[in-house]
Amino acid sequence: MTTTEPAIRNRQTAAGDVVLSVRNLHVTFPSEAGLVKAVRGLSFDLLAGETMAIVGESGSGKSVTSLAIMGLHPRNARIAGSITLHGRELVGLSDAEMSSIRGEDLAMIFQDPLSALTPVYTIGDQIVEAIQTHHDVGRTQAWKRAVELLDLVGIPNPQLRVKSFPHEFSGGMRQRAMIAQAIANDPDVIIADEPTTALDVTIQAQVLEVLKKAQLETGAAVIMITHDLGVVAGMSDRVTVMYAGRPVEQGSVDDIFYNPRMPYTIGLLGAVPRLDATNSEPLATLQGNPPTVVDLPPGCPFVPRCPLAHAGCREQEPELAPVGPGHTTACWESDRIRAEKLTSKDIFPAPVIERTVFESIPRDERDTVLSLAGMKKHYPLMKGAVLRRRVGTVYAVDGIDLDLRRGETLGLVGESGCGKSTTLLEILNLHSPTDGKIVVFGKDTSRLNRGETKTMRRDLQVVFQDPMASLDPRMPIFDIIAEPLGVHGWSKGKIETRVMELLKTVGLEESHANRYPQHFSGGQRQRVGIARALALEPELIVLDEPVSALDVSIQAGIINLLEELKQRLTLSYLFVAHDLAVIRHIADRVAVMYLGKIVEIGTVAEVYNRPSHPYTQALLSAIPIPDPQTERTRTRILLRGDLPSPANPPSGCKFRTRCPIFEQLTPEQRTPCLETMPPLDPAPAGAVVALQEAISLSATARGAGDTRVDHLVACYYARPTKVL
């Protein structure tokens, strides 16, 4: 990499020096309900070149911290304490003074790159502006630097793309451009606020790689704000865990992940479903919700959720105290946790979920509740306002086959735009798809009369992703849950008893029935959504990313609830998600989708332990695992580029444009990939190859598969590989 460094060199510190020091930071907002104490006493030192992660759930004050450091907090916020950069105090500086520091010494990468880049200027203009604001360099030189930066963050054809507008970039490319802009002036500190939360896993892996590279090039210290413990494990050197505006545990990444000494950290780590966990025992659940930061009672704010709490915890809030070298916790019980070697299992007992006899019935002997045969959904692409004409077709779902048996959970995974949500909506619509068949409970949906449709609507229910959007804000909880019962003609008295029963089933109280949805937290709202889906005692529930909008500690509770309900009520789930770790935890079988096609399907054990399609392998390798040591030693397959548009899919195998195997093939070997989409055939038998080897080995045609094993894969060069 050649960079014109002398022009814009600006390093004031050597490695190991303290660059940014935050002491006893308090941020307070006024609100109708009282003072919101968003940050209550945060201190840390950031060393040059290191990465510190700030972890916490929504409302824990992590984003407010980043805004306070940048001086971008709302004007009505009151900031107390001290923030020093190279020994210079930042608290109390005017906005104009901060402007000379922002972008120069301090840079920020935001979560949503679409709203963080100005749509009316080209990417190049925006980077040039960032450079020229702080440095007296000529326009040509600044443009040259912009091109180099784009090259550095891995944008193909930077000479050309520098003149593109943000909307011409995909999400991942925009985030790369943001990183380029952030490092343009070689800052000392980069604050990344949830930089990959809005991105798909394969893109997330690319962007994290770029971020690491950018940090290496510039030697900047990075503050990584995230809720994803996997990202923390892979990226950071040190970690600060925040709860209710206060740091509750600080230490090196290994201390936090392997020797947590604060019940909240322990619970959080226990609550994450692990991609590499082979058992599917219930997850540790933290009861309750994060507290409001208005009028906190005295004592530790974690008390209501902490099984170790005692009277002393309620009286005084613990300060951060050292428990090891460079490791501090704010907990009265840290010594006990160390002495008794308490783990999440000891502190947060996971619920015992009884397995029903149903599980022992072999799959083939159970009824099929849902089957798709060659199901296609194409949307016309129209153009023109007056004379509308068809200019193309979006191949949203392009021929998929799957079946779901009673009492089974099928996970449907893939990145956004792969057609998983379309599949789900097509099933729910109960109409005939563009092509192929949807058979629900043995009946073809294209030939349903009114009565049958109604019966089917009773037995087939849905839980949506966003629990706020899926509950009518105008209706109290009671009416929301009672609605499907009313539609199916239940009497008033029966509805009343049934709703109360349902509230109890999903872990809510009867007294909640009068409340409106916005009086509930995300997790509670999702419970209401589940109660509504259960009201009519359905047989099949379709779940569209039911936990992806929830915080980790809440998510675990919902996953356990779904698991328990499935066992108790013998439900079948079609579970759509992008999070492969959640799917591994909850599903029996999994189908991986790519551009409207299923590329691999089989039992969870088969697909996760012997992934054979290169896309599945890439997906699995891209997901960060909340384990620092594993993260450091893992090999990743980084896919190139983005998902092609479903309106213009590649010929032959849809994955070939991003396929790492395809790249290695000789022209003759490529012919089948270019011509026809490989059929779903039994996955090749034989020993798994290590990922490291699989990458270096030359491709060979797939081996014969065992038809008795429930594992199909659509690739001419499929090879079972050990990714996890």
């Binding site: 609100s31 109708e32 309900a33 919101v36 929504s58 409302g59 209710a244 919700n289 994060p290 507290p291 409001t292 930061v293 208005v294 729910l428 449709t453 109604k454 609507r457 009773r458 087939l460 229910q461 849905v462 949506f464 992703q465 966003d466 706020m468 959007a469 899926s470 509950l471 009518d472 804000p473 105008r474 209706m475 109290p476 009671f478 009416d479 609605e483 499907p484 539609v487 199916h488 009343e496 109280e509 009867e510 007294s511 909640h512 029935a513 009068n514 409340r515 409106y516 916005q518 009086h519 509930f520 937290s521 995300g522 959504g529 509504r532």
Partner: protein, 313 residues
């Protein structure tokens, strides 16, 4: 009046700001909840009370007042307010107070009927057009656009002149005013419904098996209720004004019947010499419209669970 076309977005409250949920022993129905929230709003309650008083006055005023609206006090022309005639008399010797009460009654009936009819039409047509879409939507949009370009004032004038005469002639006026009043609101309702339609709870209700009319009434219309209530309130004002304008030119309420509009236009001719003839009906009109608006605000806050003024449910 603060017009607030909110489609009940997600509340901006902090995630943690959910108040601890206190147990309530008895379950309240939605109607009870809304009522409870409404009665916390003082100005709305005052508005409701004044409207109540005005309605009672309009209904029973003729039995309580010493003079009838069509009764002349011969020899008492252009008399200022006195003990005998509290609001004075008109040029022809009519008692201003009893005429105002009579006119108030007519204006109230016309105003509320027109507003309710036109808002109902706007809600049903606008939301169904947005929800059903396709040809149904295009046909309604065409009708709306066509009716918007028609000179409604002349049409109403012509039709009401050609219509039946007599005691109930004003009902035709109500129908005509409503028929030409719903279009703009329907367009607003349509565009608001378009965004409500995309919400997941509408999809959820559809997948539950709810029929289209029930879905419109239960999920789409309540979520644009704030706008509809504001629309009814504004509609009352507009309808009364529209009726007054027509009456002024002699096309509206016909003598011997009278309305606030007729009275105001009568009084306007002699404001300089006998201002009381104008002031009495005009002040009643202002009071009426203010109270209707306060009532509308209160109802909106009570129906909108995310508003703070409604207190806690």
């Amino acid at each position: 009046m603060s017009i607030d076309f909110r489609i009940s977005e997600e509340p901006e409250a902090l995630d943690g700001a959910t108040a601890p949920i206190a147990p309530i022993s008895k379950r309240l129905s939605r109607g009870q909840l809304v009522r409870r929230r409404f009665f916390r709003n003082r100005s709305a309650v005052v508005g409701l009370v004044i409207i109540g008083v005005l309605v009672v006055l309009a209904l029973f005023g003729q039995y309580l007042l010493p003079w009838q609206f069509d009764q002349r006090d011969l020899g008492q022309y252009y008399k200022p307010p006195s003990a005998q005639h509290l609001f004075g008399t008109t040029q022809a010797g009519f008692d201003v107070m009893s005429r105002t009460v009579r006119g108030l009654g007519k204006s109230l009936i016309i105003g509320f009927m027109v507003a309710i009819i036109q808002t109902t039409m706007a809600a049903l047509i606008g939301s169904s057009a947005a929800y059903i879409g396709g040809w149904y939507e295009r046909a309604w949009l065409w009708v709306i656009d066509l009716m918007l370009v028609l000179p409604s004032f002349f049409l109403i004038a012509i039709v009401s002149q050609g219509g039946p005469k007599g005691q109930y002639a004003w009902l035709l006026l109500v129908v005509l005013l409503a028929a030409f009043g719903w279009q703009l609101s329907a367009r607003v309702v349509r565009s608001l419904s378009m965004s409500v339609k995309e919400r997941e709870y509408v999809a959820a209700a559809r997948f539950m098996g709810l029929s289209t009319p029930r879905l419109l009434v239960r999920h789409i219309v309540p979520n644009i209720a704030s706008m509809l209530i504001v629309d009814v309130c504004l509609g009352v004002g507009y309808a009364i004004l529209g009726e007054a304008g027509l009456s002024y030119f002699g096309y509206g309420v016909q003598a011997p019947d009278t309305s606030l509009g007729t009275l105001i236009s009568e009084g306007a001719q002699s404001t300089t010499i006998a201002p009381w003839i104008f002031l009495a009906p005009a002040s009643v009109l202002v009071l009426l419209v203010m109270c209707v608006n306060a009532l509308g605000d209160g109802l909106r806050d009570a129906l909108d669970p995310s508003s703070l003024s409604g207190g806690q449910a």
